[in-house]
Amino acid sequence: MAIPPGAAPGPASLPADLTRVGPALPGRRPSPRASFLLRRSGRALVSLGVVVAATFLVVHLVPGDPVRAALGPSATPELVQRTRAELGLDKPALQQFADYLSGLLRGDLGISLRSHRPVSATLAERFPTTLTLAGLAFLVAALGAVPIGVATAVSAWGGRRRSLHSVVSWLLGGLIAIPNFLLAVGFIALFGITMNVLPVAGWGGAAEAVLPAAALAIGPMAYLARIVHVEMLAVLGTPYMTTARSKRLPARLLYLRHALPNMITAALASGGLILTGLVAGTVLIEAVFVIPGLGSTIVASITAKDYPMIQGVVLVYALLVLALNLLIDLALSGLDPRSSIMEG
């Protein structure tokens, strides 16, 4: 449709009267759910392309000569030349990109400049640790946030128990304000040194996972709990909840059947970013607790300018985030019959 200059009426900006009018033109329309999933998968694919391009480009975006920067001023010109050839940087840019892509498809991410081992081997070694840490924290955050948010919202609704409401919102606000690495340091001081009950470094046993997972989970849990709290209050104030109350249903049905599904949909739509943020949070937590995961790898390789390794780790993190986003979209389309966040 041609848009006249001076006017750009997108469908969403038109009055309701204008958008749902007239008979459909011939042609099949997919169901809202299918088309939602289709769009989201399409977006995930585009995101994947952006990620691959970005990780390829990162070396080229570094100002100056990345190889010289990586090897330091003392490296001989021969070594610089050899490394450049090793990285393929002496080839034309398109050729480099083609090589990078075909390498990716074969699972070949190049050789680390520092350890001279294949990047993929290091990733395979370290990825499970990070995934376990993030997974544990996710469980803690999600399982903690929903009951806290729901319970506080239900008891605060309609202006009841104002003091509880303000205590909870202050407490949650405080927990959100403390970044995970500071919390981790506090935990070490408290549980590791003062009380000396839990190990504060390393990875392996269950005891060693307690503090890192807790430190990583608490901030997102507080944030999620607040989202759940706010969304639950919003749901409790909707006309359909008044309808449900007019049926005088027992509390169990009122909250579990009528409020919860709507709240979860809303909370998931806005809380997804927090869960993916948790993945990135592992970088800091691993640094505090000296955990040999992807986080410590990326920090070390950024400091050492080990570009192949950086590319590999960033790629893995980004893929993990994309996978999580897709999972959240799947969950949303399963939960919400309208897929009301279609345009989100």
């Binding site: 995101s47 609704w157 202006g159 340091v185 104030g237 008044t242 309808t243 990135a280 985030v321």
Partner: protein, 575 residues
């Protein structure tokens, strides 16, 4: 809004925030001058000491005073965070505003890219950018700032496009105001206040991210130090003196809290949106209780107040008394804000918690609605009192099927088995004129048309044994032909069940045709009560004006419409 800001500023939280902000600013300006020498003074003999009078936070591995170093680091930490915030706000706002005026295909691409960037956590973007700009203070400032650009751009874009979709922007375009004019005259003035409110939150987040980067060794490099750098050095020595690590940590958290607090002071979304405490309906002593009365509804001196914007109570229903006989159809008419819906919701016991309800008598059949219902009474209320609201789309639960919403009353209160309840639901749906009840029952509300939803809503009430159906503007959201179908179903339901109906509408012609008796409400009081057939001969001037001011199919077209007093004066008094 201004007075709200002043009020928040003078609250305890506001005063604490302002004082803390002043202390922070003093530290930024003067700490390096006052404590700079102490922070740099190495004393090998004093190294690694715990907290003491001379060194409240102890000393580091070179014997430097930790407290002095934390104070001195304030300037660099805060300035770097502000630098990042500036980059984020300026970059993001520009991108967001420019995106709104791009041609549609380009705009779509830009917003899609912003959304993709947004789906990655901030820290990951920061790390990516710090690969490019290297591990240095300035590199980290750029990285933290740029990583936040998508967030600000998205917010700006959302705000700006909500403005450009408004009728006032359309009106400006119609008179020939161009893109630049629209942005300068309408978009910027409307999006800047909310953006500024967000700046404090972004500054707080930037401070924390920066501390994180420095902590990882990717930000400020020795010999310079910010809080993150101090923390990094401190963690290595945490066993010797925990304060070496906790000191800078406390500084980071406190500063983050101050910045956040500024945000919530300037913001219009305070948690104070929570309504004040609930007061249950109370029965005032006065009239003796008349038990066993035959009326379906009996209310005497019903008063309902809501908390006003200034914290006081505003009385919205002022001493309403009404009786509804079994099977009677009673209408309430009045302008919006007259208290008609509030009266009905008070009768149904469905007012939100912040409402203060008081009455001499307020009963539904023999159930006293001024006290919490017993469980037996709840069951009867569920079965015998049905409610229909104005907008059937929002008053049906979007995530439950029509069938589920119909059957539950029978299952819960009547103990009807699921299967039997389902069969009854099909019958009820058919009786309210829904074709293919089998198929419709399994659908969700959004799959039905407006008129069908409203009929399904009524069907929900018919699953029980309604003695009273409260219909609150049940047809206002519907087209006039659909309106008639719904009324017909309502009428039919009354004929079949013998239920009374309380019908609320602003449309006096509709009420006159549908009801036996009409109550006219104005400003929370019933000004007149009369038979529907007698509306044309109403005694009260307000009723007469209400009848006369609405054009109907026989209004004299050559004369101006009569106006209620000065319509706008009445309207203003409420506003």
């Amino acid at each position: 809004m201004r007075s709200g800001f002043r009020q928040r500023l003078l609250s305890p939280q506001g005063i604490v925030t302002v004082v803390a902000l002043c202390v922070l600013l003093l530290a930024v300006v003067f700490a390096p001058i006052v404590w700079g020498p102490a922070a740099a003074l190495t004393a090998v003999a004093d190294r690694g000491q715990g907290p003491s009078g001379a060194h409240p936070f102890g000393t580091d591995d070179l014997g430097r005073d930790v407290l002095a170093r934390v104070l001195v680091a304030t300037r660099l930490s805060v300035l770097l965070a502000l630098g990042s915030t500036t980059i984020a706000i300026v970059g993001g706002t520009t991108l967001g505003v420019v995106a709104t005026v791009l041609p549609r295909p380009v705009r779509r691409m830009v917003t899609a890219l912003i959304d993709i960037l947004l789906s990655f956590p901030w820290l990951l973007l920061t790390l990516f950018f710090s690969v490019i700009w290297g591990a240095s203070a300035s590199g980290a400032m750029l990285a933290v700032g740029f990583a936040d650009v998508p967030t600000v751009a998205r917010l700006t874009y959302t705000l700006a496009s909500s403005v450009t979709g408004r009728d006032y922007v359309r009106a400006a375009r119609i008179v020939g105001v161009g893109h630049a004019g629209v942005i300068v005259r309408h978009v910027l003035p409307n999006i800047l206040p909310p953006l500024l409110v967000n700046t404090a939150a972004h500054a707080s987040a930037a401070l924390l991210s920066f501390a994180g980067l420095s902590f990882l060794g990717l930000g400020v490099q020795a010999p310079e130090f910010d809080w993150g750098r101090l923390l990094r050095e401190g963690v290595a020595r945490i066993y010797v003196n925990p304060m070496v690590a906790l000191g800078p940590g406390i500084a980071i958290v406190l500063t983050g809290l101050i910045l956040n607090s500024i945000g919530s002071l300037t913001g219009e979304t305070a948690s104070s949106a929570l309504p004040p405490p609930r007061a249950r309906a109370r029965r005032r002593p006065g009239a003796p209780e008349r038990a066993g009365s035959a009326a379906v509804v009996e209310a005497a001196d019903l008063r309902v107040s809501f908390p006003g914007p200034d914290g006081g109570l505003v009385e919205r229903v002022r001493g309403v008394s009404l009786t509804i006989a079994p099977g009677e159809t009673v209408g309430i008419v009045g302008a919006s804000g007259s208290g008609k819906s509030v009266t009905a919701m008070a009768i149904a016991g469905l007012l939100p918690g912040e409402a203060h309800v008081g009455a001499e008598t307020l009963r539904f059949q023999d159930i006293d609605m001024t006290s919490p219902p017993t469980s037996a009474e709840r069951g009867r209320l569920g079965l015998e009192l049905a409610v229909i609201f104005q907008d059937p789309l929002t008053s049906l639960n979007p995530s439950l099927t029509i069938e589920r919403q119909l059957t539950e009353v029978s299952e819960v209160h009547d103990g009807v088995p699921r299967k039997e309840a389902r069969r009854r639901a099909r019958d009820v749906l058919e009786s309210v004129g829904i074709t293919e009840p089998e198929r419709r029952a399994r659908q969700y509300p959004h799959e039905l048309s407006g008129g069908m939803r409203q009929r399904a809503m009524l069907g929900m009430g018919l699953m029980g044994r309604p003695r009273l159906i409260i219909a609150d503007e049940p047809t206002t959201a519907l087209d006039v032909t659909v309106q008639r179908q719904v009324l017909r179903v309502l009428h039919e339901a009354r004929r079949r069940t013998g239920s009374a109906i309380l019908f609320i509408s602003h449309d006096i012609a509709l009420v006159s045709g549908f009801c036996d008796r009409v109550l006219v409400m104005k400003d929370g009081e019933i000004v007149e009560e009369l038979a529907a057939s007698g509306l044309a001969q109403a005694a009260h001037p307000y009723t007469r004006a209400l009848v006369a001011c609405v054009p109907h199919m026989t209004t004299d077209r050559s004369r101006p419409l009569p106006v209620i007093g000065d319509g706008d004066v009445a309207e203003e008094a409420r506003a």
